[in-house]
Each structure stands twice: as C-alpha cells, then as structure tokens.
Subunit: 351 residues, 3 copies
Amino acid sequence: MQLALSAAELAAIVQPLATRGATDMTVRGLASLATAQAGDLTFLGNPKYKAEVAATAASVVLLPRDFAGEPSAGQLFLLVENPSVALARVCARLEQALWPRPAPGVHASAVVAPGARVAASATVGPLCVVEDGAEVGEGAHLQAQVFLGRNARVGTGCWLMPGVAVTAECVLHERVRLHAGVVVGSDGFGYEFAAGRHEKVPQVGNVEIFPDVEIGANTTVDRARFSRTVIGEGTKIDNLVQIAHNVIIGKHCLLCAQVGISGSTTLADYVVLGGQAGVVGHVTLGQGAQVGGGAAVTRDLAPGAVVNGSPALPLQLERRVAVLRERLPDLFRRVDAMETELARLKKASAA
Amino acid sequence: MQLALSAAELAAIVQPLATRGATDMTVRGLASLATAQAGDLTFLGNPKYKAEVAATAASVVLLPRDFAGEPSAGQLFLLVENPSVALARVCARLEQALWPRPAPGVHASAVVAPGARVAASATVGPLCVVEDGAEVGEGAHLQAQVFLGRNARVGTGCWLMPGVAVTAECVLHERVRLHAGVVVGSDGFGYEFAAGRHEKVPQVGNVEIFPDVEIGANTTVDRARFSRTVIGEGTKIDNLVQIAHNVIIGKHCLLCAQVGISGSTTLADYVVLGGQAGVVGHVTLGQGAQVGGGAAVTRDLAPGAVVNGSPALPLQLERRVAVLRERLPDLFRRVDAMETELARLKKASAA
Amino acid sequence: MQLALSAAELAAIVQPLATRGATDMTVRGLASLATAQAGDLTFLGNPKYKAEVAATAASVVLLPRDFAGEPSAGQLFLLVENPSVALARVCARLEQALWPRPAPGVHASAVVAPGARVAASATVGPLCVVEDGAEVGEGAHLQAQVFLGRNARVGTGCWLMPGVAVTAECVLHERVRLHAGVVVGSDGFGYEFAAGRHEKVPQVGNVEIFPDVEIGANTTVDRARFSRTVIGEGTKIDNLVQIAHNVIIGKHCLLCAQVGISGSTTLADYVVLGGQAGVVGHVTLGQGAQVGGGAAVTRDLAPGAVVNGSPALPLQLERRVAVLRERLPDLFRRVDAMETELARLKKASAA
C-alpha cells in the first residue's frame, strides 16, 4: 500500500484521547510491533504483546489509554479507547485509496446489450459484457472484464471484480461482493445413465444471493436443476469453494477456502465450515453447526454440533481418536504380549 | 427462470394421455411438490411422495397415468407415461430460453487473428481472442471473453462459456462444453532440481478432449510434458477439478467437484470419482472403478473396484474400519482392563 | 504440437557425438519408446527401458554414447552425452514454436490508463486492462484479457497468461509466470463477529512475489490484512492452490495442486507440499519440511520433518498406522477372544 499519512493526518483519523512523543516521519506502512520499521504505524491489539512496545521501531504506535510506557526518540504514541478499532479506521481510509469510488457510467469498451438496464449511478468498467435483459442496480460496480448473462440482476451497491461471470437469470441482492474469477450460475452436475452414456439433465434453475454476501476468488456456485441455489444474507465464502446445485445456505455462515458442498444440501444459519471440509449431498446442517478443516460430513448435523475428522465425529471423540491413532503401534504390541501371556497362563492352568 | 407457459402450451410440450381439472394461471416456475406455490409446475417423480400431491399448491402437476386423486380448484393434472421424462421436456424448452441459439458470426469486439479459421455457422462472441492458426468448427459457440490460443482447434458444436481459456495447440472434438473459467492447456507441473533451484521442464505436449465431454467451472487441465493429456468421449467433469499433465481419462467417466488427478495416471472407461477425491501419479484405475468422496487412491485399482477412505481401502473394509475407529477409546479401555486382570491372574498363579 | 524437424535440423539442435542409421522422415512428434510411431522422436532417459529401444517404431532415437544396438531400417540413432538433456533442448525449441516471442507494444484493443507505465519492450496483448499507476516492466508479457490493478507492478520478463488478475498495489518481481486464471491480491478472509453479523476487516496489505516464481492455473493468492503476503524466489505453485492472507512462503518451495495454506502461516525455504495438503493458520514449517499429499498439518514442523496423514504424523509412524488401520477388524476380534478366554481363566482360578 502506498500509504502516506503525516502524524497530524493520523491523529485526525483516530482522534486520540492523548498523545505522547512526536515524529516527523510520514507513515508509509502498517506492521506488527515486532516487524515494524521507521515510517510504520503499529498497534497493541492484544495485551500479551505489551512487552514488545518498548522495542518496536515503528514511528507511530496506537495504544490503550492506560498504557504506561514512554516513546523512544522520534516516536509518537497515540492513546485511544481501543487500538484495534483505531487501526480499523486507518485501514478503512487505506481501503478508499486502494479502491477509489469509480465514476459512474459505462466504459466505452464494455459491450452492453440494448435491452440491458444500467442504473445511472452504476459503473460498468472496461471490457465487461452485459447481455440482453440484464440489470445493474444503483451504485453497483462491474470492475473490468465481468460477464453478466441474460436477465441476470445485480443489486444496489454490488461489487463484481475482474473476470467474474454471473450467468443468465441469476440474482444478486444488495451489496454482494464477488472477488475475481467467481462463477455464479454454472450448470449443476446432473446426468442420467442410459445406454452406456451419461445424458445431461437440463439445469434450468438459477442462483439467488442475498444481501451482504461476499464470495472469494475463483469460487463456483452452480445453478439449480430447477428452482434456486440460495446463499443467505451476510454469509461469507472464501476462495475456491464449490457450491453445488440446489444447495441452500442460511444467513451469516462462514465457508473457508476449498470447501465443497454437494447437491441439495441445506445449511441453516451461522454454520461454520473449516478449510477443505466437504459435505455430502441431501443432508442438513443445523443452526450454528461447526465443522473442522478437512472434515467430511456424511450425515445430518444437529444445531450447535461441533465435529471434525473424516468421516466427521463429535469434536471430543475425534480428538480422542486422533490421539489413540498415534498409539496404535503400541496397542498392537500390547495385544501381542497379552496373547502370549494368556497362552502361557492357559497352558500353566491346564498343567 | 422467467418461465411463462399457459396450460395449453404446457400440454403441447408434454402431450398428456389425459387431463384432470383446469387452471388459468400462467406457469412461471418449477418446484418440488412440497415447495411449489400457485403459478408453479410440479411433478410426481417418485411414488414415495404420492401423499404430497393432495397438499401441493402447484397450479399444474405432472402425474403418472394411473394416479387416482383429484385436483383442487384451479389446479390442472396432466397424466403422462413418465412424469420425469415429461418434466425433462419442459426443462429442455426452458433451456432454449436460458441459452437461445446465438446468431452465427464474429462479434465486432472480438479479436480474431487473420490466420484463424472460423466456420460460417460458428459464433465468436464479444471480447473473445482467437489467435493465429486456431480453428472454430461449424456451429461452435465461443460465448464471451473466451481465449483460443495458436493452432487450437474447437470442433463442431462445441460451447465455450465466458472466460474459458484453451491454449495453444489444444484440441476439442465435437460438442465439448466448457463452463466458465475452465483452463485447458496450462503447463504441467514439472521441474528438475539442480544447484538449489527448480529448473522448469518444458511442457510441449497438448490436451485432446474427445466428443461430448463436459467440464465444470474453473476446472484446470494441464498440457502434457510431451504427447497428450487425454479426456475420453462422453466423460463429465465437475467444477474445480485438477487434471495433471499426461493423464489419460477413458470414456464416460464421472469426476465430481474438486477431484485431483496427479500426473501420468490412467483412468479406464466408466470410472467414477467422488468429490474431493485424489489420485497419485503413475497409477491405473481399471474400468468401472468407483472411488468415494474425499478418498485418496495411492495404488492401481482393479476393474470394478469400489474403494473409500484415505488411503483408500475396499469399501466394505473401509466401512468396518470407520465404525471401529469410533470405538477406539473403548478398545483402549478394554485392553487396559485386561492387562490389569492378566497381571492379577499371573500373580495369583505364581502364588 | 505441430513439430516439423528434419533429421539435419534435429542434429543441429542436439549436436550428437555420433550417429547411426538414417531417416527421411520429418519428425512431427515426441513419444516414449513404447508408444512412438514412425515420424516420432524418442529417447532413452532411463537405462531400465533399454530393452524397448530395439522395438521402438520411432524414426529418431536419442541414446547415450555407449549404447550398443543398431537402428532398424529408416531409423536414426543420435548418440549424445545425456539423452534427457538433449531432449530438453528439442523441447525448448518446441516451446519457442508454442509460445513465440510476441512483438512489443500495446494491442489496440487493450485499455491502458494514461497514468500507467508500459516499458518499450513489453507486450500488452488484446483486451487487457491496465489501471492507473500500474507498471509493466521490460520484456514483460500480458498475453490477453489480463487485469492489472492500480499501482500494481509487473517486473522485467514476467509472463501473465490469459485471464490473470493482479489487483491493486501487488508486486511481481522478475520473470514471474502466472498461468491462466490466476488471481493475485483477492481480499483475505477476515471478519469480526458483532451483533449477529460478520463485519469485514479491511484487507489493505498487498502481495509480493519474488523472482522466478511460477503459479499454476486458477490459483488464488490473497492480499495481506496489512503488510504483505509473500511468495519467495524460485517457488513453484501448481493449479487451484489457495494462499491465504499474510502467508509467508520461502524460497524454492513446491506446492502441488489444490494445496491450501491458511492465514499467517510461514513456510521456510525448500518446503514441499503434496497435492490437496492443507496447513492450518499461524504455524511455521521449517526448512525442507515435506508434507504428503492430502495431509493436514495442524502444528509447527521442524526443519527437515517428513509427515503424512490427517492430522499429519511423522512419515514412518503414519505408514505404520495406515497398515494397522486395515488390521483393526482383526484386532477387535482378537481382543474379544482374549476377553472370553480371560473370563474363563478367571472363573477357573476362582474355582
């Protein structure tokens, strides 16, 4: 990040309760206490790192109001109510620099069908394709090289990053963010086997994505066989995730990278799936269920269930099993020894 | 889907043996018996849902010819030989609406090299790139933002969706469908370690994909080190699958989402791989072998083998092992108890 | 590959120490000894295939200088110091044909912001987007439909293939190769849970990729929350890999396809990860650590550690455990039998 903030500008952003020391440096970077160099801003977000403050080379440090130490020469302490919140304010400012609000309008190089509707405040960036009947809502941003298929709808304030494809008839509600390379509305994987060949089952449903969903780079979401594949409000999905046809995902779920959800499975609200976890088709994961990274869910999960492993087991059992697995060589030796001993005893008792 | 079919239009499509009741509603959606609302079409595809017919709110219901019940007011029953087949006919009609046959020709925004050959009936959509020497066959459709590299060949009736890249020298036979974001012909992952560095082994083969193959969104297929990476006729591959260099896949295989096949491995015909399964390099999976989701295949599989688990074992053994794994804590307790008892007995017998 | 080399041209490339026999065929393909046909070039790279030389149908065979056999009619033997090296020379020539050096310049269809800097010897291909402040170094090649975000930097001799997205502020050093569909600089997956919703934590760092890194198709690399996500010099990454925010990868690592690395994890130099392996967040893998395919690394690894399994264990232990897992049904039977026997003995001794 090409950050460049003077001490005065930083203070204007975080509005400190008090300051200690001073710096002439322009702040050009953010770093942790241990890795910060002159010209960096850092923060004490967790009390356990308190001892690192004295040694940090950062030019500006965000600290809790009751922090007792003194800055070194050329170093500025900004004392605030909550250093993490103060840092988030600086980051939000940085975000605006990273992603400046684009000017509304359709780039001359974009190919927009005459029958498409683009709101006046929306931005359709360079080399996008918007097909007939598609709608781009107020303030929505198709960044570059985005594809929007026939009759697809992009709601108010959505942001579709480079190379995103939202195919025919799919619907995005407000403020949906799709990172680069996301595909929404690819065909579900459905075939019927007849006469030695897999005959395609038409996939004529769509995908509906509710407000405030964010989806990571190169993730794929298949259209339903019919009706809808659904991603509920506020759900966040990481990179390279696969959502199969007719999956219904509730509100405020978290799906980490490389997760795969098979067809017609339902996730209730607040479900969390760790990276690379997989879920078979046609099952239901209850509200707040949590699945560990790499776990394989093969049946329904009750609300609040916490599972791990492959196939997934309740967390406590899985941890115990994982420990015992390492002790299998020892167990086999013990059983061998017992068999020998038992044979000896048996012989002795028979004698 | 913006479906809009009158009762008469539906009847014209499914050609019922008989009808019962009537509806004025325009059919605008498809749904299951339990979730259908007024204005929806539904069907009884499986006898076990027969009891749901009486309560469905659908305006039109596709039913087997011997179905006994009566429609509710404003509801139309269409009695047919096979409700699933009748539904498929409606879906096929819907598919045409979703994906209307594009007009032939090269879009003005596409960049087609002078030395490329595009058949008269082919469609090269907006913002595609077709490099020198590439060929696009009769009726083939490059939808939008597709990349076709030097001397690549796309056969009759192929359909390449937005953002697909087929790189230099790769060959697609007839009717291959590539969903959005598919990459065909990326370099194989090959290096030789020398003087502390990984030196690239040139990857100068290609990929050849036989007729009627379908490949899901964002899947990647690497070109061969030399000669070919092959995907056999009629094979269907889901999203986010990785096919490494020099892999040979037979005919009519099914590869579910996020599967990974390592280099130089061969799959015979009719092999099925469940989601997230992985196969090591340089092995052969015999005809009709079936691999469970998430399984890790580490050696050759005989024709017809059915395996699961990681590393993969024969299905029956793997199921047994999975059950016993849950009982490991109990087994360790039993062995502890036996050791104690055995020591006691030994002591007693020594006394 | 549309290879077409006469025997004389081949000899000029490999500069044989001696030749035996002759051929009139134009060499049009490369193949292994066993699969080669007339018109193919083949080689004896490994002495164990020596017996296959007599039967090969190849028109030209690269052989070690001390090879004793005679060619068949119309077949040419080229005797060289090292047949693998000789083959690599031919492949390098083929590579030039596959990927001819593009002419420098910006294609008329590319959209390059006025404030971007493109070096005179660089190539910006058709339908690329280069945003304001971005830099494209000498000899760099943006092949087609590439996206380069604000202030992103692409070093000398980099090669970005079709559909690659390098987002704002990210930095590629010299000779980085990104295969089709790679995304560099997607947001890290960071949220804070407040009032029942996941609130986004701004991701304002970047990604820095050091010289001679190669990254496979559709792989994703997230930008740091702040500071940098780093990929060290000479590291090679396969297709569909996920690198989360703030990950630090050392020099000359190998990450096979579909690997996932969670946030803030560090890999030292020369680490190797097999396909589909996963690593949790906030751990460190020591220099030269090796992780088997599909393994799940849940804690730090010492330098040189070799692990496998899920969760990962030292290789020898994991192999032993994998074998014993197959013997669990037998172990349970043995324990059942011992319990019966022990009860009998106890009863007898009590009698």
